[in-house]
Structures are given as C-alpha cells and as structure tokens.
C-alpha cells in the first residue's frame, strides 16, 4: 500500500511538471484559439498538484517515521535534516502556486499582455519548483536506500 501511495504521489507530481511546462509553451503562443486549452491545462496542473500534495501528505504523516529513522542512522542524514525538512515546507508554496494558475488563466491571456507575463512567471516558477521537489524526493529515497545497505 505504501509503495502504491508513494508512486501515486510521484505520478501526480510529475503530471504537474508536465502540465506546467505544456502550459508555459501554450501561454507563449496564447491566442483566442488556445485560450480554452490553456484554462483546461491550468486546472489539470492544479488538480495534479493537489492530489500529489494530499497523497504525499498522508504518507508523510502516517508512514515517514520509519524511513526517517533509517535515513538518520545511515550515511546520508542530510536527506532528512535538510532535504525532507525543506521539501515538506516548500511544497506548501508549490500548492499555492499551482492553485493560482487557473485564477490567472481566467483572465483573457490572448488580449492581456500583463496577464500573459504574470502567467509565464507563475508557470515557470511552478515547473521549476515542482522539478526541485521531484529531485528532493529522489534524494530522500536514496537516503533510505543507503541507510538499508549493509556497512
């Protein structure tokens, strides 16, 4: 069950990255023709992020304690002390950013230069922060793996 939860968390997190990058490209070429698609993708990015957040949060609260003990007794204690500690708080910012995407997308991006500029910045930061969270997840998993290896 834990493995399925974790893989779902990663799946939805990666879906958010893909949606944010796709959204960035669509907004660069915003016109009346792709406005509806931009709004659908921005809602998808937000929904994927909420799912990743809720699933990851549930796993963190219910199951992370055992992994934390393994990491702290292994050769990579920073995988918890720095990486997990920053991830669990930066991800709240990422959730707010992803939630903000469909709000900005409700403006007419085809006709509004400022809304387009704001959307590009928010989408770019969302994609970069989501990618950073993905990398941090990888480091945490490696911290557990190294902690389990015989020394």
């Amino acid at each position: 069950m834990n493995a399925i939860l974790l893989m779902s968390h990663v799946l939805f997190g990666v879906a958010c990255i893909v949606a944010a990058v796709w959204l960035f490209v669509e907004v660069l070429h915003a016109s009346e023709a792709n406005l509806a698609r931009i709004r659908r993708i921005s809602w998808s990015a937000a929904a994927a992020m909420w799912l990743a957040f809720i699933i990851g949060g549930y796993w963190y609260v219910t199951s992370y304690k055992a992994d934390k003990a393994i990491i702290l007794s292994g050769p990579w204690p920073f995988a918890h002390a720095l990486v997990m500690e920053t991830k669990e708080h930066l991800v709240i910012m990422l959730l707010l950013l992803a939630t903000y995407l469909p709000i900005v997308a409700s403006d007419n991006l085809a006709a509004n230069r400022d809304a387009r500029r704001l959307m590009l910045w928010v989408t770019g930061i969302t994609a970069l922060l989501a990618l950073a969270m993905d990398g941090e997840g990888g480091l945490i998993a490696m911290g557990v793996k190294l902690g389990l290896l015989p020394r």
Binding site: G57, Y60, V61, A81, L82, E85, T86, E88, H89, L90, I92, M93, L95, L96, L97, T99, Y100, I103, V104, S106, D107, N108, A111, N112, R113, D114, A115, R117, L118, W121, V122, I125, L129
Partner: protein, 106 residues
C-alpha cells in the same frame, strides 16, 4: 485589442500568495525554534505539518478576500508590474528563508 489591466481575483490572490509564502517561512522558523509553538501546532490537529498546511491555506484564502475587498470592493489598485515583482520576491524570499534556515540555522 491588447489590454493590460489584471482581474481583481488575479491581483488579490497574487498579493495573498506572496504574503502567505513569507508567513509560511516565518512559521517554519517559529515552530523549529520554539517548543511551545511546535507543541501547540501538534496539539491542534495531531501533527505539526497538518496544522501548518491548514493554517497557510486558510491565510491564503483570508488574505485574498481582504485584498479583494479593498477600495470598497474593487480590490487592490497595485500595477501589474508591481504585482509581478511582489509575487516573485515573496516566493524567492520565502524559499531562501526556508532553505537558509535548514542549511545554516537549524
């Protein structure tokens, strides 16, 4: 025809996003430095992180409503350029506080 004015919801939620991100970072420092804050947050929902997340989400909604209600319901009159600067600065500042805290101060 090109327009430049942002909608009330984009402005109020953008300002709220910037402010809430900074408060998020301040809560991190407060709970890690004060056992009383950490224990209080644990007591409210059973886990400090759940309380933290709910508090930040609640503040995001509350500040968005407050910024939206400014100027007799017309919302904050900030320019698009300043809003963008505020949003980006708020996010960068709070990320630096969080990473810097765990890197150097904790």
């Amino acid at each position: 025809m090109e327009t430049t004015s942002l909608s009330k919801s984009s402005v109020s939620c953008g300002l709220s996003l910037a402010l809430t991100c900074v408060i998020n970072a301040i809560i991190v420092v407060a709970k890690e430095k004060s056992d009383a804050v950490m224990n209080g947050m644990k007591k409210i929902t059973g886990h400090h992180w759940i309380t933290h997340a709910l508090l930040v989400l609640g503040l995001f909604v509350a500040f968005a409503l407050i910024f939206g209600a400014m100027n007799r319901g017309k919302g904050s009159a900030i320019s698009a350029g300043r809003l963008l600067g505020t949003v980006v600065s708020g996010i960068v500042l709070s990320a630096l506080i969080i990473v810097g805290f765990y890197l150097f101060a904790d």
